[in-house]
């Protein structure tokens, strides 16, 4: 992976922008995320810091692979975001220098500010995090397969090993509201998503279609909660907090609905959990449906199972799509639209025949798939998984490796 470290302080960043600027934060979701300087959470953190200091952040763009100029261009050309991009005067990139170059090419009419220095390539290790193994000559470091840690690189290259002001609390720019969740009073910013607020305060709400990097869909209905004064149940992923809100996230009635929803999902297809490795801890996340099955102690579904077996698409060089494991959460569709900006995935057919399909219902290898893996990392089940292949035998036959 490309190894990049922060090259400027927060004060140095602020000197390059003014309070009149309309700022868009632009982040890659690949290498830079593992370097601790990019990704959705870092964009949110920087947005909060800048807003607290009176700067006008008008948008955040998360790109699956920021060094692909075509992805950058597609983000810019999104018809839903034209007003935002037209209004913007500054793009702050949370990317490697490659991604910054791509942003510069895309936004020639705007001020593009980078915050990183790319020092070479390296690995993400389990014990030491990101390490630099093959530095650029300009760093003065030599190749080292063990790898230099970020503090070592930062010291040698006069850079910063972490994101901005990690441990400094910034004054909250927004209005604070108080809500009550399951009898517990919580102070939070007005306009925050209810599900997020609950999770940040240790109150777990089950969900399948919600992913914080993506827009809310309210599709799976697992996150339904009771809000005093509201008719019926509300989807907490699509509800913003308001002052005085009283919420119940779990009781016998809600749990019954959730269990029913999970049973219906299990009945929709033969999920074949025993044959799927996503039940084990996987790099792209473990199966969230299996997690719910265990949580609600579901042995089997009360509903008639759909016996139809849909064909598995194994044509892509990087991923496998098994629609039998799909729960139609739409995360992959939204990831392909919002993060990859490729709009390659969508729903086709209707009712119980609905499936996710690529391009105009083509196989993955014939579609517009960029192989960026945004959909793999978004999928909560084993429907879309990355390929890990084992070759063996005289003809080097392929078999899939199960992650465990």
């Amino acid at each position: 992976m490309m190894v990049s470290l922060r090259s400027i302080t927060y004060d140095e960043l602020k000197k390059q922008i003014s309070k009149e600027d309309k700022i868009i934060l632009w982040s890659c979701n690949t290498c830079i995320k593992y370097c601790g300087i990019g990704g959705f959470d870092r964009m949110v953190q920087l947005e909060e810091m800048l807003k607290a200091d009176g700067y006008d952040v008008i948008g955040k763009e998360l790109l699956s692979v920021a060094c692909l100029e075509s992805i950058a261009r597609h983000h810019k050309m999104d018809p839903k975001k034209q007003d935002m991009f037209n209004e913007a005067t500054v793009i702050i990139t949370l990317t490697c220098e490659d991604g910054h170059d791509a942003a510069n090419e895309t936004f020639k009419d705007k001020k593009v500010i980078g915050i990183t220095k790319t020092v070479g390539v390296g690995n993400f290790t389990m014990d030491r995090g990101p390490v630099l193994t093959h530095p650029f000559e300009s760093t003065g470091l030599v190749q080292n397969e063990k790898g230099y840690t970020f503090p070592e690189v930062a010291e040698k290259c006069n850079l910063y090993p972490t994101f901005f002001d990690d441990k400094v609390e910034h004054k909250n720019a927004g209005k604070t509201v108080t809500i009550t969740v399951n009898g517990k009073k919580i102070n939070t910013n007005e306009g925050e998503v209810l599900l997020n607020v609950c999770e940040q305060n240790g109150i777990k709400i089950p969900h399948l279609c919600y992913e914080k990097d993506l827009t809310s869909a309210g599709a799976c209905r697992l996150c339904l909660v009771k809000v005093k004064g509201q008719r019926g149940l509300v989807a907490s992923c699509s509800t913003k907090v308001a002052d005085g809100m009283e919420v119940i996230t779990e009781d016998d009635e809600i749990n019954h609905y959730r269990k029913t929803i999970v049973e219906l999902l299990l009945a929709s297809h033969e999920h074949n959990c025993l044959y799927c490795s996503k039940g084990n801890p996987c790099i792209a996340g473990s199966c969230e449906l299996q997690g719910l099955v265990r949580k609600y102690e579901i042995d089997s579904t009360s509903f008639d199972k759909n016996e139809e077996v849909l064909p598995v698409d194994d044509t892509s060089p990087v991923l496998t799509y098994d629609p039998n494991k799909c729960v139609l959460c739409g995360r992959c569709v939204r990831a392909c639209e919002e993060i990859a900006a490729q709009n390659n995935l969508g729903f086709i057919n209707r009712g119980s025949k609905t499936v996710v399909a690529a391009s105009t219902n083509k196989s993955m290898d014939q579609s517009d798939c960029l192989t960026c893996l945004a959909c793999v990392f978004a999928c909560p089940t084993g429907a879309i998984t990355e390929k890990i292949i084992h070759y063996s035998g005289d003809d080097f036959k392929e078999t899939k490796v199960r992650q465990s």
Binding site: M1, M2, Y34, V65, C67, L68, E69, S70, I71, R73, C96, E97, D98, D101, A102, E105, T118, V121, G122, N123, F124, T125, M126, T133, H134, F136, E137, Q143, E145, K146, G147, I283, P317, V318, L370, T371, L373, E386, K387, I388, I389, H390, Y391, S392, D394, F396, E398, V401, Q403, S404
Partner: protein, 152 residues
């Protein structure tokens, strides 16, 4: 993304011992595939060529991103293997070298530097080359062509 160029086949085989080496090929399916020097097709091509030339290629693995340790830890090498040919950039090579110190680990490509890509045009541009390849800075290449330069 890292741009790589394949080494000559002879450069790879010069490091191999036909009689004693029991070989696994560990390949990456990310940047190197986009550049055209690796991926599933190239991995199998290399394996079959080595086999045809009498080398003992026992097995192979293709990882989504070979420079990430968590992916390397999903595979289990055969206990007989004593040589790993890495079809990946130097980052993937160092990942294998560090985690399999008892193996002879052989590179198959040379890193040119960091590249940007344009999937719409099918091109790659070398933006941050290593010093040796400074002359190729800002040159464009055909995506998936293993270094076929686009002449302006």
């Amino acid at each position: 993304m890292m741009m790589t160029k394949s080494l000559d086949y002879k450069d790879i085989t010069s490091k191999l011992d036909k009689k004693n080496d029991v070989i696994t090929i560990i390949g990456c399916n990310d940047c190197i595939r986009i550049g055209g020097a690796g991926g599933p097709v190239k991995l199998k091509e290399l394996a079959m060529k080595l086999k045809a030339d009498g080398y003992n290629v026992k097995e192979g693995f293709l990882l989504p991103i070979a420079c990430m340790e968590p992916y390397l830890f999903t595979i289990t090498l055969s206990h007989e293997v004593n040589t790993a040919i890495v079809l990946s950039c130097s980052a993937g090579w160092s990942n294998v070298k560090r985690n399999y110190p008892h193996l002879k680990v052989i590179q198959t490509v040379e890193d040119l530097g960091l590249m940007t890509g344009d999937a719409d045009r099918g091109t790659l541009k070398l933006n941050m080359p290593y010093k040796k390849y400074n002359a190729l800075k800002s040159c464009e290449f055909v995506m998936g062509s293993d270094g076929q330069k686009i002449e302006k």
